[in-house]
Amino acid sequence: MQIDKQIKQSNVRNFSIIAHIDHGKSTLADRLIEKTGLLTSRQMQDQILDSMDLERERGITIKLKNVRLTYKAKDGEEYILNLIDTPGHVDFTYEVSRSLAACEGALLIIDATQGIEAQTLANVYLALEQDLEIVPIINKIDLPSARPEEVKKEIEEIIGIDASDAPLISAKDGINIEDVLEAIVNKIPAPKGDINAPLKALIFDSYYDTYKGVVSYIRVFDGVIRPGMEIRMMSSNKHYEVTEVGVTTSGQKPVKELKAGDVGYLVANIKNVKDARVGDTITDHNNPTANPLPGYKKVVPMVYCGIYPAEGEDYNSVRDALEKLQVNDASLVFEPETSAALGFGFRCGFLGLLHMEIIQERLEREFDLNIVTTAPSVIYKIKTKSGELLSIQNPTNMPDATEIEYMEEPIVAASIMTPTDYVGAVMELCQNRRGVFKNMEYLEETRVLIHYDLPLNEVIYDFFDALKSRTRGYASLDYELKGYQRSELVKLDILINGELVDALSIIVHKDKAYARGRNIAEKLKEEIPRHQFAIPIQAAIGSKIIARETVKALRKDVLAKCYGGDITRKKKLLEKQKEGKKRMRQIGSVEVPQEAFLAVLKYDDK
């Protein structure tokens, strides 16, 4: 088969696709696969690269993968095109940077009707940092509202690359796909690497396979890797024997070796993805390279929340599920914790809010678990009066206010791209969220890029949704951690029926505590069903009550009529009512639905 055929390094092209969500990355990938004859469209699932259901539903890619295409170009030569897929969200910036590092070039897909978005721009900068050749592609030219010439101009002005001969395509309709393939061959440089130097390969993704153990996607920069070799992970110095290397075409195909310039996969009896971290350099254990590839960092969680089994759900099932997810996701961390309100559960750390939501949804969908999630938190730094330095991410652990000398909270540098019409709305939102305006760049007449420094704890509460709703979905957001800053923070507690519910406590800026307290109490009033008795809901700072609501007592819940023909139907109603109770947590004598725990997440700052 052609896979094992020796291909010259000069006939290899390694590339990624950079695109905003919905701009057609997956569709174009499908077309490239189809066009190069790897799979017939019939064999192809709708969108090959996004194989997880959740990703497909949300139109985003979580796990990056690669695929190897063979293309006979117009110059008569046969080329190997390695497409390396990248995740498309702000939480996964590091992963994106690593897969870009495995390439020599990137296709930049721009929607001909919408132009450049903030997210795209952020990834373009990442690609430029890696010295990648950027090949602009204008997509969706089939739409009547397409404005390719303006978009070309935009690319030239905003990014500063030549877009005059950018292919104009429609991935959906398969128009001008050949132009894209030619551009890859002609514009993206071939890899340069020394086959005879000691092995140097980059891991850009790892996942766990039940049969093979950890499978890592790698890009070989120097040397050769083949089964039987002893390899070393340069971050940990752990070494493993290679059992298989291969390439991904229509499925994984083992090959004899991968050499400098190649992209493929590696199996080496590794039991946990933690031991094959993204960004790590692999070298020959017996003939190591002196310098690892630059850019490796161990990713650390930015956002934490508690995950607890819902009423009647088993603690061990939740732990098993988290362990299974972690095997494939080195950036997910968790440890057991106990809540007075919710019992035994887990404190989990995530790269960001989307990552958190993805994990929550996977627990519910793939593992069919009923879970309760507590309000997300960031990591706060506290200097106590006794001179101690603390890092806390669980509000419950916050010391008494009298013991605190000062507190610091994480600040992010946020870039928001928006049509000029919404500048006022965006700035108002950022201002409400304690943002500090940095500057504003006009990208073109109708669009601006606004830079704000924002406290991360404001961003994690519903900021993205608020931004979208204020700009009718037009604004896009990108952010990165900037550092820590002193801040006047207080712990806001919620009491239900007189009982403090630790799982609902949050840390907020003191100027916002009253509004948040009122807001949460009102939300909880809506979410908590009426009981036999009236339920007071209070928000408090320390011993001071700052807001109060009451869930009125239920006076009537009865089937007035129940005769022979009613029984089956009425039983169904009762069963539905019972089903609803399953999603509740008992707090004292009050049954609190899971949704109530999300109430603290929603800001509603209209």
Partner: protein, 378 residues
């Protein structure tokens, strides 16, 4: 011989009431004669199956059975007698709407063995009757009631609904008093339920009608209970009251989980650990019978756990409650073996009362029975 209850459904009405979600039709009078024929065929099919049963109660419901000419009812009961064992029948009820009865019909009913008349009165406030889509007035009721008595019926039920749009407590108690003054043997006093797919539900959702507040509605219920009790009625089921010895025997079959068969479109049956129900559509109902098949549209197998839960849920509707000894005899288990936790929880919460012999709802429990029922489901 095992005891059996028989329900016969007559799905015809002069008009559809706004709150009604039963299988009933107006303007389909041309179907009546044909439907009666099919009802008879259905009885024929059950003959063999029910040969070990003796019928104790018969309930002809609807729709408005009294809307039909009297001879149809006579035919139904005669045909039932040919196929089923009616030797030990104690109670035969027919539902009637005020204004549909006359001396001839009542004479025919009497001759056919009917000994209980259930009147769908709902209210004696003519404005409210109109707002419910009822086709009769309070005067129709008084006239028909007199006639029924004159014809010698001594077991009459009156159905009343409270919690109607814009109804006041005074209005509600007023109607109740007038009915009590007549000395009827049995009163069903229901809280209005807005069922799905009814006109009233739709209007309520659209904000076109307002219902009394929950507090007021519960006062209507509890003040009604007090008045009825003071007037010599026994409160024997959540919504049912009777003079001593006049409880509805047929309905007790449902609540005590005894076997019954339902005949006619949409009718439900519960026999041999199975609940099943007939097609609600004339066409399917007729087709099945044309093929000599019992016209069942769906069924539910009741396993032991569900049977116990149903026994509890239905049994607790009876105000005197569930007798622990009867429970133990029926299921060879003590009630506490299964429900200790639930009973304790709701006794503590003030919804249930228990002693060594009985488990029953407290007055508060009657308002919040679903909270207990949910916990009783398997």
């Amino acid at each position: 011989m095992k005891e059996l209850g028989v329900y016969i459904h007559i799905p015809f009405c002069s008009s559809k009431c706004y709150y009604c979600d039963f299988v009933s039709f107006s303007n389909q009078d041309y179907k009546i004669a044909g439907y009666i024929d099919y009802l008879k065929r259905e009885m024929d099919l059950y003959k063999e199956y029910l040969k070990d049963y003796t019928v104790k109660t018969i309930f002809i419901g609807g729709g408005t059975p009294s809307y039909l000419e009297g001879h149809f009812i006579v035919e139904i009961l005669e045909h039932l007698d040919k196929n089923f064992n009616l030797k030990q029948v104690e109670e035969i009820t027919i539902e009637a709407n005020p204004g549909t009865l006359n001396g001839k019909k009542l004479y025919q009913y009497k001759g056919a063995g009917i000994n209980r008349i259930s009147l769908g009165v709902q209210s004696l406030n003519d404005r409210l009757l109109k707002s419910l889509g009822r086709s009769h007035t309070s005067m129709d009721f008084f006239r028909n009631y007199e006639l029924i008595r004159e014809m010698g019926f001594n077991n009459i039920n009156v159905d009343l609904i409270f919690g109607l749009p814009d109804q006041t407590i005074e209005d509600c108690i007023n109607t109740l008093k007038k009915v009590i003054d007549l000395g009827v043997e049995h009163i069903s006093y229901y809280s209005l339920i807005l069922e799905e797919n009814t006109m009233m539900k739709k209007w309520y959702q659209e904000g076109r009608i307002q219902l009394p507040q929950e507090e007021i509605e519960r006062q209507m219920y509890h003040r009604g209970i007090d008045l009825l009790k003071d007037s010599g009625y026994k409160h024997y089921e959540i919504s049912n009251f009777s003079k001593e010895g006049f409880e509805c025997k047929h309905n007790l079959f449902y609540w005590k989980l005894k076997p019954y068969i339902g005949l006619g479109i949409g009718a439900h049956s519960n026999i041999s650990n199975k609940r099943f129900w007939n097609h609600s559509d004339f066409k399917y109902y007729y087709n099945s019978l044309d093929q000599g098949k019992i016209p069942i549209s769906g069924e539910e197998i009741i396993d032991k756990d569900m049977e116990i839960a149903e026994y509890m849920i239905l049994g607790l509707r009876l105000v005197k409650g569930i007798n622990k000894k009867e429970f133990a005899n029926r299921f060879k288990l003590n009630i506490e073996d299964i429900y200790k936790g639930v009973l304790d929880k709701h006794e503590k919460g003030g919804l249930l009362y228990t002693d060594h012999e009985w488990v029953r709802f407290t007055p508060k429990g009657l308002d919040l029975s679903n909270l207990v029922y949910v916990d009783l489901l398997p």
